[in-house]
Structure formats: structure tokens, C-alpha cells
């Protein structure tokens, strides 16, 4: 097993729901209530020392009970290792802790996840839409149930029987 995953497993007895390593990428899945605690450990522990945030992302699994997966990817510039942190949230209550207090770069990245997938981040300083207009009400574009061609005003178009002259 990857030494980082081993270390995390030893440190946290509860709250770790999955450890995986594939193609050299280590990934750890934590339960939602433990997220901030684990992230704090990753940030401040001298053996972990993840100082660099790579990306925040989210994946939609519509068939699962806990529908959304939120993904953070970290890198340690001093230790030169990489880790992916994941957590799952259900659709009825899609709120996770924001990690902006630990990594300032998470600010815009989490806003993008909110905009595209509709996941809310608790304690985020400025959680607004970032790409879509502020008054956009047609949902969250990257969810799997959002049609590829978009929805909204195009749906209201009538078919014309013949071209009016």
C-alpha cells in the first residue's frame, strides 16, 4: 500500500471510508463530517505537508444514494508527493466544509464546483456563481440530468409548419 495511505489509516480510526491506489495516484475517501479534520492533518502534519492545492472537482453519480463526489487534489512541493481527497454527499443535503481556510486557492475552485454541480461549501467567504450569470435559474450544467444542449428558452420555441412569407 502507498505509504501515505498507510499513515492516514493509522492516524484516523474512524471516518475513512476508502483507500485506493491506481496508476500511481493515491486517493482517500473520507466521510463528510471528518473532512475538515483530515484536511487539517494533510496541511499541517510535517510528514504530509500538502502545501499546494491542485484542483477541486466533483463527479455526479445519479444512481448512488450519496449522489455527488467532491474531489480535492493536493501536492507537496517540499516532499514531492500527491494525494487525492474525496468525500460523498447526498443530493438532499449537498453541503461540505470549505477548505479555503487551509488553502486560499480553493476559493475560486470551490466556487466553480458550486456553479457547475450545485454543491455548497460551508464557511466559504464568497460562494457565488463564477461562470454562469448570477441570475441563472436553470440548474447546474455539469449534473448528469442537465441536457447537453442546455435547457431554457430554446425549449419554448414552437415548430413552424411552414415558413411565413
Amino acid at each position: 500500500m502507498h505509504p501515505l495511505l498507510q499513515r492516514i489509516q493509522q492516524t484516523f480510526s474512524v471516518g475513512i471510508t476508502g483507500l485506493a491506489e491506481w496508476r500511481g495516484d493515491a486517493a482517500v475517501t473520507v466521510s463528510r463530517d471528518k473532512l475538515h479534520e483530515v484536511a487539517q492533518f494533510l496541511r499541517h502534519d510535517p510528514g504530509m505537508d500538502f502545501d499546494y492545492i491542485v484542483h477541486v472537482s466533483s463527479v455526479d453519480w445519479p444512481d448512488d444514494e450519496e449522489r455527488f463526489e467532491v474531489v480535492w487534489e493536493f501536492y507537496s512541493i517540499r516532499k514531492r508527493h500527491r494525494l487525492r481527497l474525496k468525500t460523498r454527499v447526498p443530493e438532499s443535503d449537498c453541503v461540505v466544509d470549505s477548505l479555503t481556510d487551509l488553502w486560499k486557492g480553493a476559493d475560486f475552485m470551490e466556487r466553480e464546483v458550486f456553479d457547475m454541480m450545485g454543491i455548497r461549501f460551508r464557511n466559504h467567504p464568497d460562494l457565488r456563481r463564477i461562470f454562469m450569470p448570477d441570475d441563472y435559474t436553470e440548474g447546474y450544467p455539469l449534473r448528469k440530468d442537465f441536457p447537453l444542449r442546455g435547457k431554457g428558452w430554446r425549449d419554448t420555441f414552437d415548430f413552424l409548419d411552414e415558413v411565413p412569407r
Binding site: 491506481w22 496508476r23 495516484d25 486517493a27 502545501d51 499546494y52 492545492i53 491542485v54 484542483h55 472537482s57 463527479v59 455526479d60 474531489v71 487534489e73 512541493i77 514531492r80 500527491r82 487525492r84 488553502w103 486560499k104 486557492g105 476559493d107 475560486f108 475552485m109 466553480e112 457547475m116 456563481r129 463564477i130 461562470f131 454562469m132 450569470p133 450544467p141 455539469l142 442537465f146 447537453l148
Partner: protein, 414 residues
């Protein structure tokens, strides 16, 4: 009327109110200024709401999304091969490096080995693209600041390389030359000759660019000590590329996680000290020399061999065979329309583009299309630090900061 009399008439208007003798205090009020989305120095369509106190920036809020085309959503609807031309449109000034980063990510997902000659070709073209990117950046930044001459000199030399791309793949900007498992076509002897000529021609021209700027008082005044960011903050914000290295962190994926032919080449990673705009300029100019060095070494070391991995279930057949051979045509057709069967799993693969770390996070559930594809675009991450870096500087420095990030909105908004 003497001077004294004049002063009396101005200040002693109302003798009943002695307070009117003192100078009236200046009325202060915060001014909100919309910069963009149609401003020449915002490099596309970006709006920034600036809160000003006099001419100082108190707070700035970037408003993005004018160029949002939903590339990540489009990726979920097409096969892996079909997404390559979409990556051209991310950072449209440096299409080759986007193709490269994407193909590397898919190869990591498939665990695909690329032949050695293809690795060298990829490195050569990627470094040519880096030169183009830095030339474009230098000309745009200098133009924003007011040094127009450099713009023409850079574009003169950039034109040579764009013509070289034209001969290589038939397009100057939206190239789509990289393929999953290799590259589309080999360098011809004529292309190699032209590239060698350019390598001899170019280094004196870099000196020329520097002559215009390094003793230009306006350039120095507007770049030295402007938009300073400490190493700790830069890392915490997730900045990468020259913006991070300007603050003295030598984070470069070509060295940290070597890929392609980079481990076989000797080159330095220039690192700045002060974290200001001037250091980031210096790094990019030094990287031009390093790119020339890398291309030279690759041209010397490159051996003959295949340019595409031989995995027919994944890689495309050569174009000549597609037009003459029925099986190859079917193979090409099936690979584009249905795609190959990627193993289920998820990977992240970062590549050092000239702007910073360009990464692709791909989630696959098997089948020919990615289940989720996330693009980690350096321009977007850099915009997150804009407020922090601009605070306390003048309005005119906002233009400098857009320039120093080297933002391209196609990549930022995706």
C-alpha cells in the same frame, strides 16, 4: 491686486464662521470601476470590478464566464479521440501544449507507452510552442505597459514558427497534431532544416528583446516591485509556472515529475527572488534560451523509429493507409465514432505548459467516452490570486497584473 489680497479674498469669505478659514477637508468616497469586459489589456473578455480609493485598488472582484463554452460537458459526450480538437480551443495561443497535456492524461489512463521517437518529437514541438507562447506573452505585456516596439519584433519571429507549424500540420493556431499514443506525422528533412536555422537565428533576437526593455526606465518602473507575492502565499494560492517560480519556488513538473524526453535533456529552471513582475519577466526570457537548448539536444539525440504506439485497439492507423486500405479505414472510423474501451478508474495528470500546470482529471467507467473530465487550467487558478496581488497598487498596475499572469480567457472560462 497683490498676492496677499488674493489669498484673503479666497479664504476669508465669511468672517462670522472662523472654521471656513481652514482648508476644506477632501471628500473621500469609494469609487467602483468596471474594467472590461471590452478592455484591450484584459486579453479577451474578462471583467474586473475595482473598488478604488483615489487611484489605489482596495478590492478587486474578477467576473468571469464570458467565454464559458462548457468544454467539460462536451467532453462527456464525445470519444477520447474526438476531444483533442476541443483542447486546441482552451488556450488558443498555445494549442500544441494543450493537446500534449490531454494526450498524456489519456495515456496514463490507458497505461500506454509512447515510442521513443514520438517522445522526442513531442518534446521538440512542445518547446517550439513554449517559445511562441512566451513571445506572445512578452509582446502583449510590453504593449500593455506601453512599450510597443517589442510587440513587432516578437511577432516577426513568432511568424516564422507559425509558418513552421503550418508546414508541420496544416494549421497555425488550432493544430491538433498530437494523438493518443504518438503524433500525427513525422518531421520532414525540410522542417528539421528550417528549425535548425531558426535555432541559430533566434538567440541573438532574444538579446534584442532584452535591449529594448532592460534599460527602459518606464518598463523597470512599472515592473519592479509591482504585484509582489511571497513564496508561501504563491504556493497556498496554487499558482504555478513562471508566476510561482518568480517567487523563488522551483516547482516545474518537467523536473519534479519528468515526462516525455525531458529527463534525457539538460536544462535549467530559472527561479526568481523578489516575486515581482520583473522577476516573472526575467524567468520567461530565460526560458526562451532554455527551450532553444532543449530543442537542440532533442534534435541531436533523436533516432529513427515509429511515431505511434502499436496498439490497434487504441491508436489511429497512419493516414496513408486509411485512404488505401479498407481495414484501416474501418479501424479509423470505429475509433472515432465508438472509441476504445478505457479501463474504469480515475487519474490526474499534470503537464508543465508555459503558463503553468495544465492538468486533466479523468474519471472513466469503461467505454469509449470519459465519464467526467475536469481541466485544471492555470489561468483560472491565477485569477484566484488577483485580488491578493492587486491590493494596494494603482489602477494602471491592474493591466500589468493581467499581463504577468499570461491569462487566456479561453482556458480560464473553458
Amino acid at each position: 491686486m497683490t498676492f496677499e489680497d488674493q489669498r484673503t479674498t479666497v479664504y476669508k469669505i465669511n468672517p462670522e464662521h472662523p472654521e471656513s478659514e481652514t482648508l476644506p477637508t477632501l471628500r473621500t468616497e469609494e469609487l467602483l470601476l468596471n474594467m472590461g469586459p471590452q478592455h484591450p489589456s484584459t486579453h479577451g473578455v474578462l471583467k474586473v470590478i475595482l473598488e478604488l480609493e483615489g487611484e489605489r485598488l482596495v478590492k478587486s472582484t474578477p467576473v468571469m464566464g464570458y467565454l464559458h463554452r462548457g468544454v467539460e460537458k462536451l467532453a462527456e459526450d464525445g470519444t477520447y479521440h474526438q476531444f483533442i480538437p476541443h483542447t486546441d480551443r482552451l488556450d488558443y495561443v498555445c494549442a500544441m501544449y494543450n493537446n500534449f497535456a490531454y494526450c498524456r492524461a489519456v495515456e496514463k489512463l490507458l497505461n500506454l507507452q509512447v515510442p521513443e521517437r514520438a517522445e522526442y518529437l513531442r518534446t521538440i514541438v512542445a518547446e517550439v510552442q513554449r517559445i511562441i507562447g512566451h513571445q506572445f506573452w512578452l509582446s502583449a505585456q510590453a504593449l500593455d505597459i506601453g512599450a510597443m516596439t517589442v510587440f513587432f519584433y516578437c511577432f516577426r519571429d513568432r511568424e516564422i514558427l507559425l509558418d513552421w507549424f503550418d508546414e508541420l500540420c496544416g494549421a497555425r493556431l488550432t493544430t491538433s497534431w498530437y494523438r493518443i499514443g504518438g503524433v500525427e506525422r513525422d518531421l520532414t528533412p525540410s522542417l528539421i532544416d528550417k528549425l535548425k536555422q531558426f535555432l541559430d537565428y533566434f538567440p541573438p533576437k532574444i538579446d534584442e528583446y532584452q535591449v529594448f526593455l532592460e534599460r527602459n526606465r518606464i518598463w523597470l518602473g512599472r515592473t519592479k516591485g509591482v504585484a509582489v507575492i511571497s513564496a508561501e502565499d504563491a504556493v497556498n494560492f496554487g499558482l504555478s509556472g513562471p508566476v510561482l517560480r518568480g517567487s523563488g519556488v522551483d516547482y516545474d513538473l518537467r523536473k519534479y515529475e519528468p515526462y516525455s524526453a525531458y529527463p534525457k535533456c539538460e536544462f535549467n529552471v530559472p527561479v526568481g527572488k523578489n516575486g515581482d513582475t520583473y522577476d516573472r519577466y526575467w524567468i520567461r526570457v530565460m526560458e526562451l534560451y532554455e527551450s532553444v537548448k532543449i530543442i537542440r539536444q532533442c534534435l541531436d539525440q533523436m533516432q529513427d523509429g515509429p511515431i505511434m504506439a502499436d496498439v490497434p485497439s487504441v491508436t489511429l492507423p497512419p493516414k496513408e493507409r486509411v485512404f488505401t486500405n479498407l481495414e484501416s479505414m474501418i479501424q479509423q472510423f470505429k475509433l472515432f465514432s465508438q472509441g476504445f474501451d478505457a479501463p474504469p478508474g480515475e487519474i490526474y495528470c499534470g503537464t508543465e505548459a508555459h503558463k503553468g500546470e495544465l492538468g486533466f482529471y479523468i474519471v472513466s467507467t469503461g467505454g469509449g467516452k470519459p465519464y467526467r473530465l475536469k481541466i485544471r487550467a492555470p489561468s483560472f487558478v491565477h485569477m484566484g490570486a488577483f485580488d491578493h496581488m492587486a491590493r494596494g497598487y494603482m489602477i494602471s498596475d491592474a493591466c500589468t497584473i493581467f499581463g504577468t499572469y499570461d491569462i487566456v480567457m479561453g482556458e480560464c472560462d473553458r
